[in-house]
């Protein structure tokens, strides 16, 4: 099967998380990749027209988080990706959870900003995503997170 045939959903909040996802774009461009973010305007700046909007949320906002989880589920049901990846934060994590529910393979790449410890979503992803990667070698552990390089 050709590379292009693999459908990928790549999700990240606006700001640093999105910047890191964009650094991965040369590789993501080899597949049928769809993007989801909390700031679609920023995506348009990068020339990505078809971007799925996600409501922003964090762990202190249960209602917004619930809404974000529903929207993430809607995106995943509509796009049916075979792979879901996220560089953070909570909205991307909800895309990973939604991906699991439809049988997608899921990958959490913890932000390069987290050089001291894994983010909370990163810690949850150790169990809930198929793979959880840290971008700092000293944070890697045999039972996850794993280290496979960094965007920088």
């Amino acid at each position: 099967m050709g590379k292009k045939a693999i459908r990928v959903l790549a999700a990240a909040s606006g700001g640093g998380h999105w910047e890191q996802l964009m650094l991965l774009r040369p590789t993501l461009a080899n597949y049928e990749t769809f993007y989801a973010t909390t700031e679609p305007g920023v995506a348009e700046q990068h020339g990505i027209a078809a971007v799925a909007p996600l409501p922003d949320c964090n762990q202190n906002q249960p209602l917004r988080s619930a809404l974000c989880a529903l929207v993430a589920m809607g995106i995943v049901l509509r796009l049916r990706p075979r792979v879901v990846i996220s560089t953070g934060a909570a909205p991307g994590f909800f895309c990973i959870l939604a991906g699991r529910l439809i049988g997608a393979r899921t990958l959490w790449i913890d932000s390069v900003a987290n050089g001291e410890e894994l983010s909370m979503c990163g810690r949850l992803s150790r169990r809930l995503a198929h793979q959880c990667w840290t971008q700092w070698e000293h944070l890697a552990a045999s039972n996850g997170p794993h280290y496979h390089g960094a965007v920088l």
Binding site: Q20, M22, I109, G149, V151
Partner: protein, 160 residues
């Protein structure tokens, strides 16, 4: 053009004042995004905030970026393959809640296109190095090559 940025959240007058002092001897204009600082630069164009699109344009035009050690700024510089000089904020000087920027520069020092000035006394030398045309394409970074390969392997369901 050299772009100075301290992020949108906190002022960082120590960096802004040091760059204002250096600006007259630097070739070309210096534009500074100063955040909520109180120091008023006299030798460079200063803006408290820059809209994301304008910031993006300035990064693209800049030959060098001088910044606090904020990871968002480092990643933006990487995306545009621009060299960046980082000066970390210090908690003891009230510049941040903690010293995580010191940890950041310790870990990033030596990566392609990233130069570290541990304080203002090292800025002049690091700026000179940054302007001499380092290869700052992050595609040259071994850790980035590794991550891209691993990501492709994951997507294609192969062993990384």
């Amino acid at each position: 053009m050299i772009l100075v940025t301290v992020g949108m959240q906190l002022g960082f007058d120590r960096l802004i004042a040091a760059m204002d002092a250096l600006a007259p001897e630097l070739e070309g204009p210096v534009i500074a995004q100063t955040g909520k600082g109180t120091y008023r630069p006299r030798h460079m164009e200063a803006r408290e905030k820059l809209a994301p699109a304008e910031f993006e344009t300035l990064v693209e035009r800049a030959s060098l970026i001088v910044a606090h050690a904020g990871i968002g700024t480092v990643v933006t510089a990487a995306r545009h393959a621009k060299p960046i000089v980082l000066m970390p904020r210090r908690a003891s000087l009230g510049e941040h809640r903690n010293d995580h920027q010191l940890a950041t520069v310790r870990k990033l020092a030596g990566r392609p296109g990233i130069l570290v000035a541990k304080d203002e006394s090292e800025l002049r030398a690091r700026i000179a190095e940054g302007l001499t045309g380092h290869d700052c394409s992050r595609l040259a970074s071994p850790t980035a090559v590794q991550l891209h390969a691993a990501l492709a392997a994951f997507i294609e369901n192969r062993q990384p």
